[in-house]
Amino acid sequence: MGLIERGKLPKPLSHLLGLSRSYSLWVYQWGLACCAIEMGACFGSPRYDVMRLGVIPFPVSPRQADLVVVSGTVTDKLAPALRRLYEQMPEPKYVISMGSCANSGGPYWDSYSVTKGVDQIIPVDVYVPGCPPRPEALLEGIVMLQQRIRDEDMAERWKGDPIVVG
């Protein structure tokens, strides 16, 4: 387990740790469909440049990542791979579901091979609407996630009770 035990931490220390977690979100490159190109534009394009917010798109293996942006259509064939990837990430991890396909199946809501919404497989922290959402919309989602991380209470996260979705 990380340094933080299940016990309660003094307020300023947990706030400081929350600050450090929010300013250094190493995001894992997991692109699926058209949203992946908008995510690439958000991470890679100098016009939006997500590194300003401290979200660093360097890690290529899930072991070093603590945020994964599910950007695109999750099909039934891909669901087990996505689930295994989520389990490989070390614990304080966060998920952003980007685009209608990841939120609820989007344009393929009636297809026979698409999973209707990624929150059936992994718990999601922030839903970014759009098809595909603009890079600024993803930036707004990340800023909202960073705000939630800052005032998040680590002890309650370690209790291990499943995060209630939605």
Binding site: G2, L3, I4, R21, Y23, M51, G54, P59, V60, Q64
Partner: protein, 343 residues
């Protein structure tokens, strides 16, 4: 370190170890912050970290604190002891490198008279750490990354050492302080003001040293072991949390150490015209600043190449080392030797 007050040997040792334990992480932090984040960003016409701290300066503080909170995972079939030992070995080789680098007339951890020989020997320990990591992670990608790293580092040790031999012949002394003094006292055809930084006469050696350093640090164009697009982060693929931080620290610490070595051997180390060699308060204060500036210049070139070039394939990389670098370095030694004998 000849300080005014007499200290027992172990007290001096404690101060030296403490100094190195403080200098290396801060130096790495400065390197990573300026080059990996800021310079790379501006080279790609973007801004790099801005939110954490004023103008993004505390970004590394946040990274460090976050990595401390991460869960330490290890694959089930991994060989647990070797798995945890590997990052420490890589980090060890970086720390030991700093023992011999002089930052001023009096400021050097241990002025071994076999200084440069010791530095090069220590730098090859990291190959062991890489192999241990590659094997212990019980992961196909890590294994291939580890083997490639071993092959590459050994192939590039040779030109690294041979490039240094040219310098040693010209300086006539193995200890780094001696090399700095030789550069300070030498003169070019009688004009002695700026001394004789070896980069002027040993230009070929300097180029070879830089190319070999690029390969030692597994940076593009020689970053086959950690080639993201094929081997998914090579041997570091299974490491998370603090252990990954060690690798990260080791990699950029080695970058700082090697550029400091290059600055000392080729650009005149901590000496600048006007500093007297014997030591005195001024030299001991100005020396480290000069060394730091020269090191940053060399590191700039290294990272500049890193962000621009595509990566060589494994066999092209090896043939480039054996067919081009080593013969060139032998020629360099021959020429330096001949000049040494004639003049």
């Amino acid at each position: 370190m000849t300080l005014a007050l007499e200290l027992a040997y172990w007290q001096q040792l404690a101060i030296k170890v403490l100094a190195i334990l403080v200098i290396v992480p801060t130096a790495t932090a400065i390197i990573v912050q300026t080059f990996l984040f800021k310079m790379m960003a501006h080279m790609q016409s973007r801004l790099g970290p801005m939110e954490a701290g004023p103008h993004g300066t505390l970004q590394l503080m946040a990274d460090g604190a976050k990595f401390v909170q991460k869960e330490l995972l290890a694959p089930a079939r991994a060989d647990r002891r070797v798995f945890t030992l590997a990052p420490v070995v890589v980090l060890l080789s970086t720390f030991l490198l700093f023992v011999v680098i002089p930052a001023g007339p009096g400021i050097v951890a241990e002025n071994l008279d076999l200084g440069i020989f010791f530095a090069l020997a220590v730098s090859s320990i990291s190959v062991l750490g890489v192999l241990m990591a590659g094997w212990a992670s019980a992961n196909k990608y890590a294994l291939m990354g580890g083997l490639r790293a071993a092959g590459q580092l050994i192939a590039y040790e040779l030109p690294l050492v041979l490039a240094v031999v040219g310098v040693v012949i010209q300086a006539g002394d193995l200890s780094l302080q001696g090399i700095v003094r030789a550069q300070a006292e030498g003169e070019i055809f009688g004009f002695g003001l700026i001394g004789l930084p070896f980069v002027l006469t040993q230009f070929l050696g300097f180029a070879l040293f830089l190319i070999a350093t690029q390969a030692e640090l597994t940076q593009p164009p020689f970053d086959m072991p950690v080639a993201e697009s094929e081997l998914v982060a090579g041997f570091q693929v299974e490491y998370s949390g603090l252990q990954f931080l060690y690798f990260y620290l080791g990699e950029f610490g080695a970058a700082f150490a090697f550029s400091a070595l290059a600055a000392t051997m080729f650009l005149g180390g901590w000496w600048v015209p006007g500093l007297d060699l014997e030591g005195g308060l001024l030299a001991n204060v100005v020396g480290p600043v000069v060394l730091f500036a020269k090191t940053m210049a060399v590191a700039f070139v290294i990272f500049w190449i890193r962000f621009t070039y595509p990566r060589l394939r494994e066999d092209q990389l090896q043939s480039f080392a054996w067919k081009y670098l080593i013969p060139l370095s032998l020629v360099n030694i021959l020429v330096t030797g001949a000049f040494k004998v004639i003049f």
